[in-house]
Subunit: 229 residues, 2 copies
């Protein structure tokens, strides 16, 4: 594994006192400190995809509507590891939120390190989609140093339906919603082992179930349909 | 089939000129005219269930949020059969709605007769759930006259997963949402052949697919999962 610089990156975020943002470049790197050096190429060629990877890695999902009890729209995942009383000091009153909003925010909490691992994993998966842009030798070497192998026979598949994913899915939309989303084998764990890309319709069907629960569930449905005619 | 009274029921709805509400009692019935005589018992014992059956039968689903482009919250299904210019006279400007909202409203359009058929079907299904209240001889005879048979060996099942449904599901909720919903084998057809009760999670998983499409889809998923290890 690469030895990282981990220099503190200047930020105006009020959450810096909890967890500073850290440079993820290799120690002794030239140039500016950078939290997402592995996304540098993608920020140039496909900024909306790079933004999506960064956002989904470090931020919780947002509230579906705007109101006092809906909760913050999106929030840094590690902030959601704080206790209710610590959050109150930051102006977030968890006790006024609906139980289902609290569950949603707390389920998606994760450490800064796990978030960085997720960002690397999603970047690796993105470059292995059909029709993905070419990866630069620097980014490839960086991700390989974290144990992520690249092979031409490998394609990124939807975590749920296991169908091949194409890079164009990021920009394709149905009824105003992007065709693929970031999802989790276990929806309550945000780390690199557990994260991947999922078709929106597959993600919706999976719901709050783990992948194993989902497969077991649809197996049961098909069994019942077969015997119940 | 029962010969119906079909007397016009007085109403203050502005949509009465399109389609008056009609008495669904047998011809020559005693007492008041009634559009939902088969729901009379349920309105006494379980008014929220009776209300749900009436509402889901005749009204479209509602907008998820309130704004000009979200469209009317719920609207009579037969009103959605009118043309855009006819709707404009009623103050509904379809052209200012988002395409996905228009699709949702238009998909759910259906005739008054089909809506009445759906209401009878849902009532029949409700009385055949596990732990349902007893059906009165009058209501039973009424529904039987429309060809709906009652048998003690029969139980209402979720249209999607085919698991037995219990009457208590109407009042059970998960994360603030009722456990079962009214759904359709083909989500774009609202008539008695095509309607039934569906677990909320099954309804979400089905999405815009027909039942056949849904079963085909999950079969494909399981096949891919088996071969892709």
């Amino acid at each position: 594994m690469l030895k990282l610089c981990l220099n503190r990156i200047a930020s105006s975020s009020k959450y810096d006192s909890i967890q500073p943002r850290l440079c993820q470049c290799a120690t002794g790197h030239p140039g500016r400190h950078d939290e997402f050096p592995f996304l540098r190429d993608l920020f140039k060629t496909n900024p909306s995809v790079a933004n999506k990877i960064r956002r989904d890695s470090v931020m919780t999902t947002g509230a579906a509507w705007k109101s006092a009890d809906a909760g913050p729209n999106r929030i840094l995942r590690w902030v959601m590891l704080l206790s209710d009383s610590q959050l109150l000091k930051f102006g977030i009153n968890m006790q006024q939120l609906k139980p289902q909003v609290i569950a949603k925010l707390r389920d998606k909490a994760s450490t800064y390190d796990d978030c960085m691992g997720v960002a690397r994993k999603l970047t690796w998966l993105t470059y292995q989609m059909d029709n993905a842009p070419n990866i630069s030798p620097e980014t490839k070497a960086y991700l390989e140093s974290f144990g992520m192998q690249f092979s031409t026979s490998q394609t990124t598949k939807c975590l749920v339906c296991r169908d091949r994913l194409s890079f164009e899915s990021f920009s394709r939309a149905q009824r105003g919603k992007a065709e693929i989303e970031t999802g989790h084998s276990n929806p309550r764990l945000h780390n690199s082992d557990n994260v991947g890309f999922i078709h929106r319709e597959c993600n919706i069907a999976q719901g709050a179930k783990t992948l194993d629960e989902f497969y077991g569930w649809i197996k049961t449905i098909l069994k019942r349909v077969e015997t119940d005619v």
